[in-house]
Amino acid sequence: MTAGSEHDRLALLASVNEVTDGRVLLGETVARLLEFVVPAFADVATLDTISPRGELTRIGSRVQGPGREELERGLLHRRPVASAPVGLPRALSSGQGQLIERMAEEHLRAIAADEADYELLRALELRSMVDVPLLARGRIVGALACGVGPSGREYGPEDLRFAEVLSARLALALDNAGLSAAVSGLEQRLEATLTNLAEAVLVRDPAGPLVFANQAAAGLLGLDSVEDVVAASAEQLMELFNVFDERGRKLSLEELPSARAARGMPAQPLLVRNVIRSTGEERWLLHKATPVLDAEGALSMVVSVIEDLTEVKRAELAQRLLAEAGQALSSSLDYEQTLQQVAELTVPGLADWCAVAMRGDERLELVAAAHVDPKQAELGRAVGRDIAAYLGERAATAAVIAHRRARVIAELDDALLSRAGLRGELLKRVNELGLGSLILMPLAAPGQAAIGVLVLAMAQSGRRFDQSDVRLVRELGHRVAIAVENARLYSERSQIATTLQRSLLPPELPDIPGFRLAGSYHAAGEHNDVGGDFYDAFEVPGGWMVVVGDVAGRGAEAAALTSLSRYTLRTAGRLLGDPLAAFQELNAALRERESLSLVSVCCVLLRSEEGDGARADVILAGHPPAFHVRGGTPTPVGVFAPFLGAYELGGWQAMSTELAVADQLVLYTDGVIDTVGEQERFGEERLVATLAEGGEEASAANTVARIERAVKRFALGPQVDDMAIIVVERTGRG
């Protein structure tokens, strides 16, 4: 006995076709398909899909008769046992429909996963079952299981064949439903994506009108709604803005990527500064446009994507401005020249016009001005002078000077100008320059009085300053003020330092008969710190004294000690002719000082002897040894003894060495051996090695140069200590 008449079956197949034609969602399709199957062909039916990896997903179940809902739920959550030798698992594993004409206890047991599952299956009261795979495009995409029992029907081989025909239709229906679901989903997703995209998207017909714009486009263009955007022509939209390139040049519609793309021209992304005319609000926008061609290759639409880079670009501009200003401010001590550079840096990125006025004795003086348009530079300077004079006259009352308070004017208008008492030439010039939005920022280091005013204004760009601009200008004002103050202090201190240093060092080494002297001196730091190292060479009774010394510490205190040391040694040496006596003099002088004053000295007394030879007496006080270099072999000379100034009695001793012609005596300060390298300090060993490299041919001058080179090569980072080197070479009888 078969289930249902021939007519019913044809009707069923037709219905299945109907379902596949519609664009319906997958879940709906399944429900409707099962409605056709049950009760027309079965009392119970389930549908499963199978993933390419073989995972079964039950997508629908239908039961007719009492307890239907509970049974359907149970079946929907049922997972067929993959290893079952009969039924659905077998149909899937073999790819062949399975027929169980007469369900028996053993069949149920084989299919059931557990006791509960067994009870569920038993409750269905099945007599026959067919299980068929769903094949679509040569691949098993699912399975249909049908059962009869309560209705009194039974399945036979004919029913299995029908089930196979039905399954082919079902597979097609499901496949189509799945695909169409994916397609409609894609469109929906695309629209949802475009609508919610942070970037503005505009789609334009080549004929002109906009066919699509998203919410971001409306926001970015400053319009109320998407409809307003779509309704406007390109020209109308362009009317709303002033558009500039990065250099401040005004752009026309024709130059924008979308217009170029619409003409079939290559369209590179273009970064523009968009100023909304009505509000002066500024945005940095990255325009990108892509032409979309139809199947024939004709232009069908232009898709423009506009990205809002305002935050990024402003942060970048601010950072760059501050960095470049910092560089300019630290590059020179001539602050008028520096301020001119800073003023130029602010246009056009931050403003259209910039002026810097500094406070003189009684008034403000313009020291720098810059204008975005070189043709208006002169006018810009004139207005700068006017404003400086204007503020200068009111310096006592102008908040920007007296109270260091920034003044931000959103838009200069006639009322404001007349209230400020501007008239005559000044008013004319201000109008001529077309100044709009204005910032007056005091130049003041935190906690210090204002030393001037930084004036920034917008003109032709029509922009308006906002809070982030004000923050940036305030920061710039701080930096300028600090730099100018530093420059003033620096030039004063530098002058003192240079004067002092000049007094500490001999202008040049003297000519000593029978010897050649070469030396070098490098002070740590740039100009300001007077070095703690000193050297000197002077004639004493019976010979010459050469001194290299180092004063512990830096700055003014060290400078005073250096001066004391150098002149005491020179005076005592000249008067007494004996280095040891000179040492005792200096030691006593240093001990008289209130704070511990330590000086290290290497002193050499040079005396020519009979013939070409000479004698050198080397006396050390807290100083590393001198080196006697003969034929490329360095030998340390000197007896170690305490610093001058450390103890009452020093126990300094002279050590004598004979200098033959071409012999050298190398004196240096610890700046040489303490030079910091990557791993360690330069050290005495490297100095010895450097001296040995010179061989027999070395002259005093090239020994100095060689040491300097070796130290420079070795050094890591800036020099931190002073460095003095003196080389004495014996040339013969003088």
Binding site: L596, S600, G622, H623, F640, P642, F643, A646, G650, V720
Partner: protein, 116 residues
Amino acid sequence: MTPSSQLSLEVRREGDAAVVVARGDIDLSTLTQASAALDEARLGAGSLIVDLREVGFMDTSGLRLVIEEQRRAAEGGYRFAVIRGAARVQRLFEIAGLAGDHDLFIEPPADRGGAA
């Protein structure tokens, strides 16, 4: 100043003795730090010991501290001593004519290891 100059200082109390253990470089850039540690250690100490065994580099500014402390100890009636450092550090004492000063140097206590 010097990229490599780093100094860590630890003050230990052992009875009425204060031991300043220095690790790293003592030079112009770490001088203030070292000086502050000595000021702290000196308070209430009957003897002040500076342990230089872990010092990698020292320049004359470090020696200045030592000589200053010697002077202060002589005036203030406390004992001041130094535990010798590595050869390079000791070389500095040698150059300053202090290597043979038996009152200045003290042997490290046996119970404290080198890297304690």
